[in-house]
C-alpha cells in the first residue's frame, strides 16, 4: 500500500515524556514503511490550530497531536477539513467523522507498579508528583495508589502538582519536599521526580517510558505506555476509508499492548512478584478491571 502521509504536532518539545511516546511510535512506523512522518514541536496554543490547518492543506491524511489546550478550536479545524483524519490526545470525546481522540491509559501498569512498591516502603508514606490535576494524570496516580492499597491498606499518600507539564527541576524540588515529609517511594508522573529520589537514595516508579536506564539504582518499575497500537488502529481506519471520529483509548489497554509494566527483578521484593504477575494476567484476560478514578487525589 502507499505510505500514509502523517503529521505530528507537539505542543511541547518532543523530549517531553508524553510527546516522546508519540514521536517514537511515529518514527518507528515511518521506519517500518507504514507512514511518511513530518512534525512540529513546541507549538503554542495560539499557533496550534494554524499548524493543524497547514498540515491539512499540505495533504496529510492523518494528523496526530494533542488538543488539550485547544479543544474547541481543534474540533472546528476538523470540521473545516473533513478529508483529513485527526487523532488527538484529548480530555473530551471524539467529534464528527474525522476527529478521533485517545487517552493515556497506562493506569493498569501503574496499578501493578503500586503492588510492587507497597512492601518496599519503610515509612509507609508514598509520594506522587504530577503535572496538573487533569483526568489523564489523576487516573494514573489513583491507580498507583489503589495498587499500593491492595497490599498495604494503611499506606499514607502525598501528592504534589507542579502546575506545568515540563519543569523537571520543579518536579525534583517537589519530590524532595515529599521526601522531607516522610515519603520513601515516589511515583514520578513527571520527569524530574526520580532525580529527587536518586539524590536522597530512595526508590521511585517511572511513568510512560522506561526510566530505569537513566536512573539504574533508583527506578525499579515503570508504568509503560505504548502509542503504537492506537496509531496502527487509526492508520488502518484511514486507509480503509473508515470513520475515524471515535475514541481510540481502548487501544491503550494492556490487552491491546497499549501499556505494561517493566521492572527490575533485583530491586523489588521477590515475594511481591507472583501476586503482581497474577494480577497482570487477570487484567489481560479481562477478569480484573483496574478502577478508573479521574477525581483529583488529595
Amino acid at each position: 500500500a502507499e505510505k500514509l502521509k502523517v503529521a505530528g504536532i507537539h505542543a511541547s518539545p518532543v523530549e517531553n515524556a508524553w510527546n516522546s511516546r508519540l514521536h517514537e511510535a511515529l518514527l518507528a512506523a515511518a521506519k517500518d514503511g507504514v507512514i511518511e512522518y513530518t512534525f512540529s514541536e513546541g507549538v503554542s496554543g495560539t499557533d496550534y490550530p494554524r499548524a493543524m490547518r497547514e498540515y491539512a492543506e499540505a495533504g496529510n491524511k492523518l494528523i496526530v497531536g494533542e488538543s488539550y489546550a485547544v479543544e474547541t478550536e481543534a474540533r472546528q479545524v476538523a470540521a473545516d477539513y473533513p478529508d483529513t483524519a485527526f487523532l488527538m490526545g484529548s480530555s473530551g470525546g471524539p467529534a464528527g467523522d474525522n476527529f478521533g481522540t485517545f487517552g493515556t491509559w497506562n493506569h493498569e501498569a501503574a496499578y501493578l507498579a503500586g503492588m510492587l512498591a507497597a512492601p518496599m516502603s519503610k515509612t509507609g508514606t508514598f509520594g506522587a508528583v504530577g503535572a496538573i490535576p487533569i483526568p489523564e494524570v489523576n487516573i494514573l496516580i489513583n491507580a498507583f495508589r489503589a495498587g499500593v492499597k491492595e497490599a498495604r491498606p494503611d499506606a499514607k499518600f502525598l501528592v504534589g502538582f507542579i502546575g506545568t507539564f515540563f519543569d523537571p527541576p520543579k518536579a525534583r524540588e517537589s519530590g524532595l519536599a515529599q521526601i522531607d515529609a516522610g515519603a520513601d517511594i515516589l511515583f514520578g508522573e513527571r520527569i524530574g521526580t526520580a532525580d529527587a529520589a536518586k539524590e536522597k537514595g530512595i526508590k521511585s516508579v517511572g511513568s510512560l517510558l522506561d526510566y530505569t536506564p537513566r536512573y539504574p539504582e533508583t527506578v525499579f518499575a515503570n508504568a509503560m505506555w505504548y502509542f503504537r497500537p492506537i496509531l496502527d488502529a487509526a492508520v488502518k481506519d484511514v486507509q480503509a476509508g473508515q470513520k475515524t471520529g471515535k475514541d481510540y483509548s481502548p487501544y491503550s489497554f494492556m490487552k491491546e499492548g497499549g501499556n505494561d509494566i517493566v521492572f527490575s527483578e533485583t530491586m523489588v521484593i521477590k515475594d511481591s512478584i507472583p501476586a503482581m504477575e497474577e494480577k497482570r494476567k487477570a487484567i489481560k484476560d479481562g477478569s480484573f478491571k483496574v478502577p478508573v478514578d479521574p477525581s483529583e487525589p488529595t
Binding site: R21, E41, G42, P168
Partner: protein, 314 residues
C-alpha cells in the same frame, strides 16, 4: 497549624532554600552590578537561558563541569557586550534593548540546542555537580545538612555576594562603578571613563547572569530544555530593587524568595488546596513592589540608572 510550622524545623527545607536561591544569587548580583553602573539589563532572562544551554552543551560534549561554567560566563559576557554596545555608546533605550536581548538569546539557545542535539525520547543528561560535604561543618547536626552539603557553585555564589559587597564599598573599582551609576559626568570629571566602565560592568554582570543559568543545568538539574529558566531572570531584576542595590541584601532577598518557594512546595502537603499555591508565588513579587515603594523615598536608586551618557554631548 503546628505542622505548618514544623516544616521550618526540617533541614531539608533549608538545604532546598540554598539550592533554589543559587541561580537567583548569581543573577541578582549580575543585574545589580549592571544597574550600579547605570545600566538596566533586561536581557537577563535570555542570558540565563543561553548560559544554561551552552554550559550544559559544553559538558555534554565532553567538557569539564567548570569548563561548562566558564563557557557559560563567556557567552554571558558576549551578550553583555552586545547589550552594552547598544545602550552605552549608542545610548539606546535600555529596557527595549534588554527585552530584545532576552528574545534573541533565548530563541538562539533553543535553536542551537535543537540543531546540535538530536531529537530523543527524554532529554539527554550529563553528570552534574555533586554536593560537597565540607569536612567538619557538614557533620554538625541539622546545620550540616541544611547549609553545608551543597554543590560547589552554591558556595561560590554566597562567597561572590560577600565579595561583591566588599568590592563595591571598599575598592577603587567599586567606587568607580558607583559614581558612574550616580553621575557619569562626575565620573568623567574624575578621570574615569564612564563608557568603558559601564561596558565592563555590563559584561561582567552578564557573565554572572549566565553562570546563574548554567547552575540550572549543571547542578540543579542535569539536562537542558527550552523555557527552563521560567522567569527566574525577572525575579532577579525585582530582587535587585528589593535589595536596594546592595549585594548583601541581594543575598538575603534571594534566600527569602527561595524560602517562599521551598516552603510553598512543602506546605501544600499540609494545607492541601485550602490556600491556592499561586498566592504564595505572588508574594515575592508583591514584596518587591512594596520594597520599591519604601526605597523610592530613600533615593537609593542609582541616580543615573537608565540615563545614557554621551561623550561630548549635552
Amino acid at each position: 497549624m503546628m505542622e505548618a510550622l514544623d516544616i521550618f524545623a526540617s533541614a531539608g527545607l533549608w538545604a532546598a532554600v540554598l539550592r533554589i536561591a543559587t541561580p537567583l544569587i548569581f543573577g541578582t548580583l549580575g543585574a545589580l552590578i549592571c544597574e550600579r553602573s547605570g545600566v538596566l539589563n533586561l536581557g537577563i532572562e535570555g542570558i540565563m537561558t543561553f548560559g544554561a544551554m551552552i554550559g550544559w552543551m559544553t559538558v555534554y560534549h565532553g567538557g569539564d563541569l567548570w569548563a561548562g561554567i566558564a563557557v557559560a560566563a563567556l557567552s554571558g559576557a558576549m551578550f553583555g557586550l552586545l547589550h552594552a554596545a547598544m545602550t552605552v555608546p549608542l545610548g539606546l533605550s535600555q529596557h527595549v534593548t534588554g527585552l530584545g536581548i532576552t528574545l534573541f538569546a533565548s530563541s538562539l539557545s533553543y535553536y542551537i540546542f535543537r540543531l546540535s542535539i538530536p531529537v530523543s525520547g527524554s532529554p539527554p543528561t550529563i553528570v552534574p555537580f555533586q554536593p560537597i560535604a565540607i569536612p567538619g561543618l557538614s557533620d554538625i547536626p541539622f546545620l550540616g545538612e541544611a547549609l553545608f552539603s551543597q554543590t560547589a557553585p552554591t558556595y561560590l555564589a554566597v562567597l561572590l555576594a560577600l565579595a561583591a559587597a566588599v568590592a563595591l564599598a571598599r575598592t577603587p573599582l567599586g567606587l568607580a562603578v558607583r559614581i558612574v551609576g550616580e553621575n557619569p559626568h562626575a565620573a568623567e570629571a574624575q578621570g574615569i571613563d564612564p563608557i568603558r566602565l559601564r561596558i565592563g560592568a555590563v559584561v561582567a554582570g552578564s557573565a554572572l547572569m549566565a553562570v546563574g543559568g548554567a547552575f540550572l543545568t549543571l547542578s540543579a538539574f542535569n539536562s537542558f530544555f527550552p523555557t527552563m529558566v521560567q522567569g527566574r531572570g525577572w525575579v532577579c531584576i525585582a530582587l535587585v530593587v528589593f535589595a536596594s542595590w546592595r549585594p548583601g541584601l541581594a543575598l538575603l532577598g534571594a534566600l527569602l524568595f527561595a524560602l517562599f518557594d521551598a516552603y510553598q512546595l512543602r506546605l501544600s502537603h499540609v494545607v492541601g488546596k485550602a490556600i491556592p499555591y499561586q498566592l504564595f508565588l505572588m508574594i515575592p513579587y508583591l514584596m518587591s513592589i512594596l520594597a520599591l515603594l519604601v526605597m523610592a523615598r530613600r533615593a537609593r536608586v542609582p541616580q543615573a540608572l537608565m540615563q545614557p551618557f554621551r561623550r561630548g554631548e549635552r
